[in-house]
């Protein structure tokens, strides 16, 4: 029945693409399902179904129906082998939506899943937290990115895998940067730069720290930070590399080296990167760049 509902939902939502959000009825229905009892598999082999009512760092309280009444269980964390949550298949659906560009619906669904699982997140395997990294990305891209900070802070302690830790760190840093909480963003970016390789999968830290330096008129430092991932770039995709190009071009203009800015711009273009429109502090430099390109073009004509 539940599977049928998933398919029905899937079929219904596909044509509405990314703009589609879940309807109130669908939300109610999914939420109801997600609120069903969970199952605790205990290390002693027992299996208990019930509703978690009080979850603390080391104990979990489960209210289980017993005839007409109710029994309240309390388990220590080390007694629990596994927790089975209802609605597991929604995770695949949410991922599928996110990957197929239906971000709004995916975000709605992940909101519900997160609300269901967040209280128990420290009891769930790290993979559960890894799953929610994509949730933070969806929040960051949504009109209300501020929530990402809270979500990432909650998920981070549960994550063990290095790549996943880096992904969550990136999400946290990105959150602070997008929200223009510069002081924290700068501190995080400094730590980021100190621990990561310039040829890694992301250049976010260099970019955030570089933007901070640019704003503080430390142009040389901004340029050096932006150029590091560029100089070490590999054929593998590096997130925010195009941002670093834009930052480097901006710093070159700030250092009154427009010719070098043009060299970097040509390089950026050859690599198929486009100027990131969302970074407001780089906009004046983008205008300078366009002006310089126009001037050069008319001179050549």
């Amino acid at each position: 029945m539940k599977t049928l509902f998933h398919y029905a939902l899937y079929i219904l939502l596909i044509p509405q693409l990314s703009l589609a959000a879940l309807s109130p009825e669908e939300i109610v229905r999914i939420r109801t399902e997600l609120r069903e009892a969970i199952t605790l598999q205990l290390k002693n082999g027992q299996s208990i179904q019930g509703f978690p009512t009080n979850v603390s760092e080391n104990t979990i309280q489960l209210n289980a129906a017993e005839g007409a009444g109710e029994i309240i269980y309390r388990f220590e964390k080390n007694e629990i082998l596994e927790i089975q949550m209802p609605g597991e298949s929604y995770k695949s659906l949410a991922l599928e939506w996110a990957e197929s560009g239906q971000e709004t619906a995916a975000l709605d669904l992940m909101d519900l899943l997160y609300a269901q699982r967040a209280p128990l997140i420290s009891y769930l395997p790290p993979a559960e937290s890894n799953f929610f990294i994509i949730y933070t990305q969806l929040i960051l891209d949504s009109p209300n990115p501020a929530r990402a900070i809270a979500v990432t802070e909650r998920l981070k302690p549960q994550i063990e895998n290095t790549a996943a830790i880096e992904a969550i760190d990136d999400a946290i840093l990105k959150s602070y940067h997008i929200l223009e909480l510069d002081e924290t963003a700068t501190e995080l970016a400094e730590a980021w730069v100190a621990t990561r390789n310039p040829y890694g999968a992301s250049a976010l830290g260099y970019y955030v720290l570089g933007v901070n330096r640019l704003r503080n008129e430390a142009y040389e430092e901004a340029l050096d930070l932006a150029l590091r991932p560029i100089a070490f770039s590999t054929p593998l995709k590096t997130e925010q590399l195009e941002h670093c190009y834009a930052l480097a071009i901006s710093a070159a203009f700030a250092l009154r080296d427009p010719d070098y800015a043009i060299v970097l711009y040509a390089d950026m273009n050859n690599r198929g990167f486009r100027w990131p429109a969302e970074e407001k502090s780089l906009q004046p430099y983008h205008e300078k760049l366009l002006k310089k390109l126009n001037t050069d073009a008319s001179t050549n004509d």
């Binding site: 100089a231 070490f232 590999t234 054929p235």
Partner: protein, 952 residues
């Protein structure tokens, strides 16, 4: 793309089961030995013992080859593919080929079996050395079974075989087409990599470049990422060796660092194994064989990678080198720095990288940073063989900064400590050069001579000889200079310096006024080395020589030959020709010449356009045709007036104004309005029409007139209307400079916007001097003395001849005084006093500065002497006289000479020009007190005199 599927024989086991069933039943009555031998063959095959299986099948044929059961077509049709395959895997390709050929030629098999036989027959052919036939068989295969994965594999095999038979063009074409096909991505990437490797092997750089850079490498999923990495590394090296750093950088970017490559290779191996596990049950034996080979290859590559020493630092060094050659010093610096400071890398390579890091910084002319980095090298690698070279780079950094003495000190150290170093000739030569720049020609000569005497085989010998000769030239000892350079010339034919030596000799002849010899040398240089960079200078020299000879027409023709792509020489030659036309009163020629100059496409960039226009107007005036100059000026103003990038519009306006005034005075026609009215109308019109650059220029001109005719305050008030009405982007360099300076003088931080605009939009214009000076002034006001010093240094290094130079030097002295560096300040001020071009107000201000320093140091008498020099020698500058008198009187008072103090104040108050000074009022207030003190001192003096007389 689909996969071939066929029922027989899908796997070795299936083949054998099939065989067992087929072979057992019909022949059960045959001798048990055939069955036994078949069983043994099957068992051997199953166990992977193909050689035994092969011999078992051979034995069967030997024993039963003539039996009808053996010759039965069904039996043969069943046994042949297995027998052939066993032979192939037992390294008996010739036999395998016979069996596959028989099967294909004489039996009607299923498509799957046919594909199996054809593909393996091709392999057998290739193993027997029949590469061309094998290629043809693979070709037949893919044509027979098109749009299958196996066809794609066959194509890769075919291309490989074509390369082996040296059908390179055909193989290339095949792989190029394959890349564009809809075959599986991993296979297309494999094909592309093969093509790339082959291009590299064949040294076909153009094709390697095309393949490397025009392929959309799907690196996130391609299994052979290691192959790409190494192929790209090789290609990068090739580009670097061919001096093509841009493409080298692009190639190196396709190479993964060693740890990343290992990690990715592991991921790819796991992914390929997982894919194999998933696909195996449904895949053909060809595909599975390919997959197994791929897995084995990836595993081998991984193993090899793990054993290979980390090539990453080498990769970064080479990438850094490519960036260095591409003049992208910042990226080069970053790469070298990473290797130099990474403790995981080998110490030797760290040192190498550190050394290149210094070079990269030197190339970027970041001299101070270069020196620090070089010192850091010496600390970290004190005994390294490059330590001396690092020390030399420190000297070079000092030289780059213009601190020639410091450079000499470092070179002294090098020479003293390592006299036998291989680089010693370079150190001596460089020290000599630095001495020469410091005009210590004798010392310079000693070093050049040392190179010549002690290192006769050095590559620097010719340069040392040239410079030794030039030191005499700089001392005006032309005879000796000529003698040495002629001697050098006779031994350097074919040397790259030879044209330079000729040019220098021509110059010496010219300096000696031996015009004929000078001309001969210049002519020969132009004829023999028409592409040499000295040719434009030689052309200009020819013009000067003819001028020296009084051959003015010839001189003008010579100047006209100076090419315009040497802008400074071209401008010089243009105006030298103008001088000639003026002297010859050839006004028509003058105008033609200058009109051609003004009409050039790059006229707006020419610094002397206004001068050209002025002389055009002047020539018309000389011919009593002043009225004709109007349209020329007007057209120029129309053309450039509102263009903020155009130069010298202010000068054109001045020339126009002068002409206008003259014409107005001569013309009584009421239709002509006075120039001031014209200026007023134009200003208002330009403002209302938002021709703001033109407006700013008109206002600037108005202010200049007011400064001359009224006073500075009025002029400055006028100028500020530009600040109010014209955005920075619409102002030209002159206007930005004028307004920025006023704002800075008044202490407004908004001046910095003007200076920033100058440095950003006009970084190479002479007006940048104003920005440097203004920024220094603002920095001093904020007590940022280090920053202020930096701006002043920029000013003095880049624009030392700007009219603000005295102010900049005085400001430098002020900074030094504020820093308590009195000796430096005194040296700076004394330098001003030694410069003839700074006579007048700058000298007076320098004296004031010296007086203040001496006062600060408690040397009151010398201080008084400086102030006295001001009010004695510089009476034309009232604004400087008042403080000179006032400070002088205070010093006299402090020295206890009340009479002198009183007399000084009295003299000050006698000059009515000083009455507007605040100090004048103070002096008035002070006078009675000083008068009393003077009287008292006089009385005492008189009494003392009387006492003396009485005693006597």
């Amino acid at each position: 793309m689909r996969s071939l599927s066929y029922t027989a024989p899908r796997t070795r086991l299936q083949v054998l089961r099939f065989l067992a069933v087929c072979l057992l039943l019909p022949f059960s009555l045959l001798a048990a030995t055939l069955q036994e031998q078949l069983d043994q063959a099957v068992a051997a095959f199953t166990g992977g013992d193909y050689l035994t299986a092969y011999w078992q099948f051979e034995g069967i044929e030997l024993d039963y080859g003539t039996e009808p059961e053996f010759l039965d077509r069904d039996f043969q049709k069943t046994i042949l593919p297995v027998r052939a395959y066993a032979a192939l895997l037992a390294d008996r390709p010739t036999d395998a080929l016979v069996y596959f050929a028989e099967l294909l030629a004489n039996y009607d098999t299923s498509p799957g079996m046919r594909a199996f036989a054809l593909y393996n027959a091709a392999i057998a052919q290739s193993q027997t050395g029949g590469n061309a036939q094998a290629a043809q068989t693979f070709r037949n295969f893919r044509l027979t079974f098109p749009k299958t994965n196996e066809a794609a594999l066959a194509l890769l095999q075919e291309a490989d075989l074509l390369y082996q038979v040296e059908e390179v063009a055909q193989a290339n074409k095949l792989l190029d087409t394959f890349y564009l096909s809809d075959a599986p991505e991993t296979l297309r990437m494999q094909g592309r990599l093969r093509a790339l490797q082959k291009a590299g092997e064949l040294g076909d750089l153009a094709r390697a470049q095309k393949l490397l850079f025009e392929t959309d490498w799907q690196v996130e999923g391609m299994p052979d990422i290691a192959v790409l990495s190494f192929a790209a590394l090789d290609a990068g090296d090739l580009f670097l060796s061919k001096n093509d750093p841009i493409n080298a950088i692009r190639a190196y970017r396709l190479t993964l660092p060693h740890p990343v490559l290992i990690e990715k290779q592991q991921e790819r191996l796991f992914a390929t194994e997982a894919a194999y596990e998933t696909q195996a049950p449904f895949a053909s034996s060809i595909w599975k064989s390919h997959s197994r080979q791929l897995i084995a290859r990836l595993a081998r590559q991984l193993e090899s990678l793990e054993r290979t020493p980390d090539y990453t630092p080498g990769l970064y060094l080479r990438t850094g080198q490519a960036y260095l050659l591409a003049t992208r010093y910042r990226e080069a610096t970053i790469l070298f720095r990473e290797v130099a400071l990474n403790p995981d890398f080998d110490k030797t390579i760290q040192a190498e990288a550190h050394y290149r890091w210094i070079i990269a910084i030197c190339e970027a002319s970041a001299w101070e940073e270069a020196r620090q980095t070089a010192r850091n090298f010496l600390e970290r690698h004190p005994n390294h063989e490059l330590a001396n070279a690092a020390l030399f780079l420190i000297a070079r950094a000092y030289q780059g900064e213009g601190d020639y003495l410091a450079a000499i000190n470092v070179l002294d150290e090098l020479i003293a400590n390592y006299p036998n170093d291989a680089q010693a000739p370079r150190w001596y030569f460089t020290r000599g050069y630095n001495y020469s720049v410091l005009e210590q020609q004798a010392d310079a000569r000693t070093d050049f001579a040392y190179v010549l005497d002690q290192f006769p085989k050095s590559s620097l010998v010719e340069q040392a000889a040239l410079w030794r000769g030039l030191t005499y030239f700089f001392e005006r000892d032309y005879e000796r200079s000529l003698e040495l350079l002629n001697e050098l010339k006779s031994t350097t034919q074919g040397h790259p310096l030879y044209p330079e030596i000729n040019y220098r000799i021509a110059n010496i002849h010219y300096a000696r006024r031996d015009y004929e010899a000078a001309m001969d040398q210049a002519d020969r240089l132009i004829k023999d080395f028409p592409d040499h960079y000295r040719v434009p200078a030689a052309q200009a020299l020819r013009g000067d020589i003819y001028m020296g000879l009084g051959e003015l027409i010839l001189a003008s023709n010579a100047f006209k030959k100076v090419p315009s792509d040497a802008p400074q020489l071209f401008d010089y030659a243009t105006f030298q020709a103008v001088k000639i036309y003026r002297a010859l009163e050839e006004y028509e020629l003058l105008r033609d010449h200058l009109e051609a100059y003004v009409d050039r496409d790059d006229a707006a960039e020419r610094p002397r356009v206004s001068e050209a226009l002025y002389w055009i107007g002047w020539s018309l005036e000389e011919e009593n045709r002043a009225i004709e100059a109007f349209p020329i000026f007007e057209a120029a103003l129309e053309r450039f007036g509102n263009d903020p990038e155009a130069r010298a519009v202010g000068s054109i306006l001045s020339a126009y104004a002068k002409l206008y005034h003259k014409t107005y005075e001569a013309d009584t026609s009421p239709s002509i309005i006075p120039f001031q009215t014209w200026l007023q109308i134009q200003s208002e019109k330009s403002l209302s029409e938002e021709q703001l650059t033109w407006y700013a220029r008109l206002i600037l001109f108005t202010a200049q007139e007011q400064r001359r005719a009224i006073d500075d305050a009025t002029a400055e008030a006028t100028l500020l209307s530009i600040h109010r009405n014209v955005p920075l982007d619409d102002q030209d360099a002159e206007s930005l400079s004028a307004i920025g300076l006023i704002l800075a003088e008044r202490g407004y931080d908004s001046a910095d916007d003007y200076f920033e605009a100058i440095l950003t939009r006009y970084p190479k214009r002479f007006e940048r001097a104003v920005a440097y000076y203004g920024k220094a002034k603002l920095a001093v006001a904020n007590n940022w003395l280090t920053q202020a010093t930096r701006w002043i240094v920029s000013f003095l290094e880049e624009t030392p001849t700007h009219p603000l130079a005295p102010d900049a030097r005085l400001l430098a002295a002020d900074i030094l005084i504020q820093q308590g560096r009195y000796d430096g300040a005194i040296a700076t001020l004394q330098e001003i006093l030694e410069l003839k071009e700074m006579r007048g107000r700058p000298h007076a201000r320098a004296l004031a500065g010296l007086a203040r320093i001496e006062t600060e140091r408690g040397n009151l008498k010398p201080a008084v002497a400086y102030w006295q020099r001001i009010y004695t020698l510089y009476r034309a500058y009232p604004e400087l006289l008042a403080p000179a008198y006032w400070e002088s009187s205070l010093l006299f008072e402090a020295l206890g000479d009340a009479i002198a103090a009183h007399n000084t104040v009295k003299e000050m108050l006698a000059d009515s020009r000083l009455s507007e000074s605040e100090l004048y009022t103070l002096a008035e207030d002070k006078l009675p007190e000083l008068a009393d003190a003077a009287r008292e001192q006089t009385a005492l003096a008189n009494a003392a005199t009387m006492e003396t007389e009485v005693v006597q």
